[in-house]
Each structure stands twice: as structure tokens, then as C-alpha cells.
Symmetry: D2
Subunit: 183 residues, 4 copies
Amino acid sequence: MAALLGISGSLRAGSLNRALLAAVGETLPAGSTLAMWGALDLPIFNSDLGEPAAVAELKAAIAQADGVVFAVPEYNYSIPGGLKNALDWISRPPPLSPLRGKPVALVGAASGMSGTIRAQTHMRQILLFSDAQCLGQPEVLIPRAQDRFDATGRLTDESTRTLLARFGEAFVGFVARFARVSR
Amino acid sequence: MAALLGISGSLRAGSLNRALLAAVGETLPAGSTLAMWGALDLPIFNSDLGEPAAVAELKAAIAQADGVVFAVPEYNYSIPGGLKNALDWISRPPPLSPLRGKPVALVGAASGMSGTIRAQTHMRQILLFSDAQCLGQPEVLIPRAQDRFDATGRLTDESTRTLLARFGEAFVGFVARFARVSR
Amino acid sequence: MAALLGISGSLRAGSLNRALLAAVGETLPAGSTLAMWGALDLPIFNSDLGEPAAVAELKAAIAQADGVVFAVPEYNYSIPGGLKNALDWISRPPPLSPLRGKPVALVGAASGMSGTIRAQTHMRQILLFSDAQCLGQPEVLIPRAQDRFDATGRLTDESTRTLLARFGEAFVGFVARFARVSR
Amino acid sequence: MAALLGISGSLRAGSLNRALLAAVGETLPAGSTLAMWGALDLPIFNSDLGEPAAVAELKAAIAQADGVVFAVPEYNYSIPGGLKNALDWISRPPPLSPLRGKPVALVGAASGMSGTIRAQTHMRQILLFSDAQCLGQPEVLIPRAQDRFDATGRLTDESTRTLLARFGEAFVGFVARFARVSR
């Protein structure tokens, strides 16, 4: 059982990555939950500024969660600037980052064939800075995502649902492994 | 001779990357110039929104420049969210991106030993999406940058100045090579 | 018109990447040619050893070519060890590497959906060391390659052939741009 | 307590990476051991060939170890071809790879400033294919390594020794975390 936080890298209302994250929540093992964080609409990071209230709230939510699932769209062969900007805020000051030692996992949906491979590769490297513990396999890289959800954002593709169930089970186990020692 | 645009990925007033970009401008071959763009303080990209006026201005400045030099600080083992966010705006719509075919080059300063290696690696991959033409060597990766500039942001390290002069000469030649054919 | 060298990263007799490289040769603009290098079956690089004769021959072939097309299979989310080993030999000593300033381009075929994205990303970073000039777009990332070639290794998929023709035209133009200045 | 296997990516007799691996062995917590594997001098991988005896031995050694420490030199901004070639053999067939779920960690020594950053970044991505569990922080990236070892390959730099002790303690804890569940 794990209380997870879901963070979507897209701000769009009709985002397939937000829909994918909702589908992760629906396919978790019994007893585990996924709470969805709202839009990552933060000021651009500048260490000359103080920490905005919205950043403090997000950091607290990460700190309280047993694990975090990031939905990672791919913009320009990398993660969205808005998501990176949120991570720039969250990670300061580095010794106190709520991502330090936190179990995290990635999912991503794309309209093309690559399924956000490049974005997730960057995201893993970024999370290494904070020493977040990132689930390896199974990777959730969803190509041609627009064919797998209906107009209301509900997942309609069974093979994707099966993958998400496998992912959820793996991540809840991964979270438990780290919880036993560090919490 | 080339009219270059300099874009700094840091918003901080005392940014060493902005200082590095200024030093690039001072060491260009005679006849070439570097105009500095201001702070990349844009709204977070959201394709549901229209293009902000500041984005249109930045796109026009890139389109008019013979080449662009990006100063790339490293945050969380990647480029700053604010710089990535600017690229997310600039690159839309992809067929009309002013970065398409544009000669670009990277410099970066860091307080640690790595000199922004990881950030520049990500930046090169990001620029590939837009088919920008990115200078290879010499790479400008400045470690322990705080020891190389004085309190006013003036470059005081001669070995860095020599590297920048070599970089400027290489980039102006690179720009000329592409200009002859495509413009 | 360009005299290109094709180097396949796979040693397998029935390699789809070798077949893809052959198809590149068939779709080049009139007047340009692609000569295929044989298997990259070299000893493991060790700077305690002298340079094998096969390495000297490969270096000479690269030096004489107007440009090089690498076919890059993906093994373990990166380029094959055999290809990397060949590059380790070719690149020494660095100031004399025949890849220095050489126009190069990448193609890759895979049975899965990703089409060698991860391998080509690594390959671009590897080639930066030698300051090879690497073509950006169009990228040739061929997913489900087994469905696009017949049993004899002939390309049967028209959309792939169209992409290869576009790639060949872009690369021959890219080679010409560099030739005009540096040769 | 963990029985670890050390694998060096360099074949050179006087390799600093082999010396670094030896120093890791000397700084492990009491009760833990590091056995050193010999040179990775394998034939170039070719799926048309059968598995060489040396590969079977290496796979068995990995399977028996509680965890593996790889010393990763940087050649051409990536891992050595010889190390990648060994991984190409070890990882087949993928469902039976001895790296699957195996706790692994990386160290690297370089003569320059970057300390093998680029090589270790590639190595982490390569190991993700096999779902090896890779230690995050502390990263062991040793710049100017030639100044930290004496002529016999003994580590003489105390700050490096302190880092290695911290690394060894972290990795033995990481191994224990995974052992408790999966073995």
C-alpha cells in the first residue's frame, strides 16, 4: 500500500499525459492511491527571488507522499520547460530537497512513435542530481497515444492498461523496498 | 563578419553565465558583434494559450541574427527550466521555428568541476529537434567560474579569454559557411 | 556529387542495418556513390597495443571519403560495442583522427518502435569528441524494420525509400557545404 | 556485508580505473569484499556466433555477486567499446541477463576535469535496458586522477579515499536493501 502523488508535466486542459496519469491511478494495486497535483504554473526560477507559496505547497506534498509518478510529455526532445522549472524550485536547497531518496517513476505519452523516450532519458538524469530513487523497468512509453484514449480522456486500449497495471505493481513494490529502510 | 545574438539561460542579476556571454562579445573577431537579449522571463508554455508578445520579439531577433550564442547554466544536471521554456515557445510551430537551420553555439560557466557538461549535452539534443546547426569544437565548459571573473563580472582569467577568442573565431567561420549557401 | 563511405555497426550476415545502408546507396542523388566497408571485427582497443593494419585501412578509407554514413543498430540502449570499439581505434591520436571535421550522418533500423533513437543519441555525443560534422535532420530512425525489407534484404517500403532519398539529398548538400571551405 | 565483483572497463596494464577499483575494495565497510574480474578481452559480439566460454564465466560471476562495481573510463565521450561489447554479450538473452535486478554502482577516473561524467551518463542508460538497480549518489567522478595515485597505482589522495569510503558504505546499504526482498 502506497499513497502516491501524480505530477503532470503538461499544462494543457486536454493533455494526454494527464489522462495517462489518471489511468495509472485506476490501475494501482488495491490499497494504493494516486493524488493528482494541479498545473505546474510557477514563476520562472530565479535564485534572487524568495520561494513562492505554491512551491512550498508542492514540496510539502512530495515530502508527504510515499512516492511520486511524473507524467513526462516530450517537447523539443526533452521534458517541458514548465516541468523543469518546477524541479528547479523543488530541488532547492539541495540538501533539503523533498526528492532526496524519494521513490519516483515516470510515464509518458506521445503522438509519434517514440513515446517520449528522449524526454524520459533526460528526466532520469535530472532526478539523479537529487538522488531520487527512480524505478527502472517497466518503462511506460506510449506511442500514438491519441489512438488509445477516447474524447473524454479515458484509456480505451487494453494493452496499455495491462502495462500500467504491471507498472503500478512494480512501483508499489519499489516504494515498499525503500520505505522499510528509510522511513 | 557576423551579427550574433547572445541569450543567457540565467535570470539572476549577478549571473556568471551572463558575464561569460559578455566576454564572448569582447573577444569576437573584428567586424563581428554580439547583441545581448534580456531576461527570459516568459509565461510557462501552454499550447492552449496564444503567443505572448515577448515571444514574438525573441523569435524575430533570432530570425534576424546571423547566429545565436546560448549561455547555458546547469541546474539539476540539465538546462534551466526558464531556458527550456523559452525554447518551447520559440520552436512553435516547428516548420516556422527561427532556429531551423540557424547556426548556434553554446557556452557555459559553473562553480564546480564539470563546467556545465551535462547541461550542454541536453541542449545539443534539444536543438536537434529544430535542426539548428550547432558548432562542435571548441566546447566552452568553464569550471570554477567564480575564480575567473571579478566582482563586477569582468573576465580576469587569460586562459579563458584565449579559449573564447578561439571559440569566437570558429563560430564566425561556421556561420559564414552556412550563410554562403542558405541566405 | 559525393563519394561516401558506409559503415555498418552490425557484424551479422543478415543485418537489417547493413540492408538499410545498401538502400541509402541506391537512393543517393545521381553522381554520388556509397562504398560499403566490411565487418568491424577488430581487436578490443588497448593503448598498450600498436595500431592493427585493419584500423589503418579503415582510417585511410574515412580520410579519403567525402563523408561517412554510419548504420547504427541499438544494443542495450546504445551503439554496439563493436562499433564503439572501432571508433576508439579510429579516433587516436585525437589531433589526427580522420573524423575531425568530416561530414557524417546516421541511419538506424530496429525491430521495435523506437527505431534506434537511444543509440543515435549516444552516437552523436560520441562523434562530438572528434568534432565530426554530423547532419541533423532528417533523422533516419526506422521502427519495425523487419516489415520493410524482403528476405533478401531489399527495401520494400516506399515511405522509407522516400525518407532515404530526402536524407541522401540533404547529406550530399551538407557534404558540399563543408567541402567548399575545408578542402 | 556484501560480496562484490569489480569490473574495469580498461584493458591497459597501468589503468587508473583499475587502480581506483582496487581502492574501492580497500575502503569497503568491514565484512564486505570486492573481487576483481580480469581483462574484458572478448570477441566482438555477433548474434550469429555462440556464447564464448569467457562470457559464460563472467555471467556466472555476476550472478553470484551481491553487487557489481564498474570502473568506467571515458573514451570518445562514452564508455570504452570493450566494456560495451562485454555488456552486449552479458545481456543476452535479455530475460536471463545476470544484470536483471542486480545492484550495481559506477566509479570513474579521468586525467581531465570532467571525471568521466559523459561515460557514466551513458553507462546508466545502458544498464537501464537490463533493469539493473544502479546506485545514485554519491557519484564517484575523479578528475585529474593521475595526481591522486602513485607510480604503483596506490591511492594517495585523502579526499578521494574519504569519498570512496562514503561510496562503499552507501553501496553496501543499497545492496542490502535489494537483497532483503529479492534473494
